[in-house]
């Protein structure tokens, strides 16, 4: 099992390394970059959904905190972009911890409700505080530079996000095999059994939620620098839903499922853009179809079939 997992990581590295050679133009490079960005966020979210058994319907709110901090702090207050990114990550961790602590004392899908509220509130704030955020029109984001080096070509961004993706895949694989990960999996199996075995369930759940929120915030900051512009849509409720959908379609608690889900659902709207007007309907049908016929998600279902056939 463990060998297989690292074999997968090797395949991911290989694909990421040769991919730019096969991409005909910057449009596809941009698509690949957005797939990597979503994949990193979805990896974090899947730790929460798949291993802690909790849904977040407001992850786009955390992405929004990161993105807007990276836009506002350097533009209006002259902060260094890296400092702004770190401040956003800290703020996100703080908010996530404050919200999660009382909620994880309860059983049930209360986190879904709280994050739903949080995400929508963040989005409304961003839309309304036009003097800081530019309101619904959004605002430009200064370039990201570290020392003398400035990220200014799509290729550089691609390599940055590819390295981040490999690193987070590797980190996630290690995490679920660590004592922390075993505790998380025990939680998903039976909370009471885990508690009896000495797992401090609240602490674990809060940590995993905070980690996934911080993943989202940092990726939000980087996305904002990459695109060079940020609008409230990044913190939209629909964006949160898209992320949860990527987790579930790929397969809950499956690391490679997260990658596949992110790749497929980032590509899908592009593939559907030729069906003028029908994109939403087809997107909805695909979601429903996947869930009805493969309720456990693509990777677990296919892996199961493959194992049975072999």
């Amino acid at each position: 099992m463990k060998k297989n997992a690292y074999l997968g990581l090797f395949v991911v590295i290989l694909i990421l390394a040769v991919l730019p050679k096969f991409l005909p133009n910057n449009f596809y490079l941009d698509l690949a970059i957005r797939m990597c960005i979503n994949a990193v966020i979805v990896l974090g979210l899947n730790l929460l959904i798949g291993f802690a058994g909790q849904i977040s319907l407001g992850h786009a709110g955390f992405i929004g905190i990161g993105a807007y901090a990276s836009a506002i702090l350097p533009t209006h207050f002259g902060w260094h972009p890296v400092l702004a990114m770190a401040a956003a990550a800290l703020l996100t961790a703080f908010i996530a911890a404050i919200v999660a602590k009382p909620i994880f004392k309860l059983k049930g899908h209360y986190l879904a409700m709280a994050t739903l509220g949080l995400g929508i509130i963040i989005n409304i704030i961003v839309r309304n505080e036009a003097s800081l955020t530019g309101g619904p029109d959004g605002m430009p984001v200064p370039a990201l530079s570290i020392g003398q080096f400035e990220f200014d070509s799509e290729k550089q961004w691609y390599w940055l996000f590819a390295v981040l993706l490999v690193f987070s895949t590797w980190a996630s694989l290690n995490l679920i095999d660590s004592p922390f990960g075993r505790a998380l999996r025990a939680l998903h199996g039976s909370e009471i059994a885990a508690q009896v075995a000495g797992v401090n369930i609240i602490r674990y759940k809060v940590s995993i939620f905070v980690i996934s929120a911080v993943f989202a915030s940092i990726m939000g900051s980087l996305t904002a620098h990459y695109v060079g512009f940020v609008t409230p849509n990044i913190a939209d409720f629909f964006h949160s839903i898209e992320l949860v959908t990527m987790v579930v379609i790929g397969g809950m608690a499956s690391i490679y499922g997260s990658l596949l889900g992110a790749v497929l659902l980032t590509a899908l709207p592009q593939a559907l853009s030729s069906f003028e007007g029908w994109e939403t309907v087809i997107f909805g049908c695909v979601l429903m179809g996947c869930m009805i016929f493969m309720p456990r998600g693509l990777v677990p279902t296919l892996a199961n079939r493959f194992n049975k056939g072999a």
């Binding site: 009382p102 909620i103 309860l106 409700m113 509220g117 929508i120 869930m291």
Partner: protein
């Protein structure tokens, strides 16, 4: 001072009645299946849009409104048959994604069929306002509150005094035991979806003369209905009604006294005190865990 307060109260109660109907819809389906139906808002939208469509076709108002209630109910039943029943027992997240997929399909189809425009519906009985100690009350608001009250009374009668209603309650408490005493539990799920979609649609029809409608109003209305259900105690009928009215009143007061720009944020702020201090909502019962 009093006039202003009354004015906000009236508008809060009016919009709150719609949230109450939506919250009742969430409650019915949640009780029958533990599914949180994120397509609920689309039934509200369908009610409004269809009533506009049928009245502009020239149908008499009662016929148009009946059709605008029945068609969403049919849509709800279809959703249950093709998408919820086949995956019974799947994880909650899976079911949530299915209902989100359904909401996208419904919204997309309406957008293609009726366009992206904003539509209005004439008030049911004119628009001469009634003056009550300085505040004005539109006749349509009385329709909204009156019909909501009738529906709540009917639902109360249905669940407390009829065999079908009691069977549905029994199923929500313990589906296996209900099945053992001969209740057809899958028809319960079916009826719940029909009723819930119909309720949402009625809310959507009633509010359209006041707030206008378009293909995308369902998301916000549905989410606020969900907040109302949570505030009242998810799964509790009375809670849904009280929660709906509360959310409506808080929203109107907040918009009036604090900031109208943050009107839409207020219901979602209410989630936090509810979850922190009374997580089962105003009327939710206690639940215990079993190993």
């Amino acid at each position: 001072m009093l006039a202003q307060f009354l004015q906000f109260l009236f508008s809060g109660l009016t919009v709150g009645a719609t949230y109450a109907l939506a919250a009742l819809g969430f409650t019915l389906i949640y009780n029958a299946s533990h599914v949180i139906n994120f397509a609920q808002g689309e039934f509200i939208m369908l009610g409004g849009m269809l009533s506009v469509y049928f009245t502009t076709l020239g149908l008499p108002l009662p016929v148009a409104l009946a059709l605008a209630t029945l068609i969403p109910a049919l849509v709800g039943v279809t959703l249950e048959k093709i998408a919820i029943e086949p995956v019974k027992g799947a994880e909650t997240v899976t079911l949530i994604i299915i209902t989100i997929g359904a909401s996208l399909v419904i919204r997309g189809l309406v957008q293609i069929w009726l366009g992206k425009g904003t539509f209005s519906l004439a008030p049911f009985s004119g628009d001469t306002p009634i003056h009550i100690s300085g505040a004005t009350l539109m006749p349509q608001s009385i329709w909204v509150m009156g019909i909501t009250l009738c529906i709540v009374a009917l639902l109360w009668y249905f669940f407390n005094c009829t065999r079908h209603g009691k069977a549905m309650l029994a199923t929500s408490f313990n589906p296996v035991a209900a099945q053992l005493v001969g209740i057809n539990t899958s028809s319960v799920l079916f009826i719940s979806f029909a009723m819930s979609a119909g309720l949402g649609a009625i809310g959507g029809i009633l509010i359209t003369p006041i707030t206008l409608t378009s293909y995308d109003v369902g998301i916000m209305l549905g989410l606020k209905g969900f907040v109302a259900a949570v505030v009242g105690g998810l799964g509790n009928g009375l809670g849904a009604v009280v929660g709906g009215l509360m959310v409506g009143i808080f929203e109107a007061m907040g918009a009036g006294y604090i900031s109208s720009a943050y009107k839409d944020a207020i219901p979602f702020v209410l989630i936090f005190p509810t979850l922190f201090f009374m997580p089962r909502g105003l009327f939710g019962g206690k639940s215990t865990d079993r190993v």
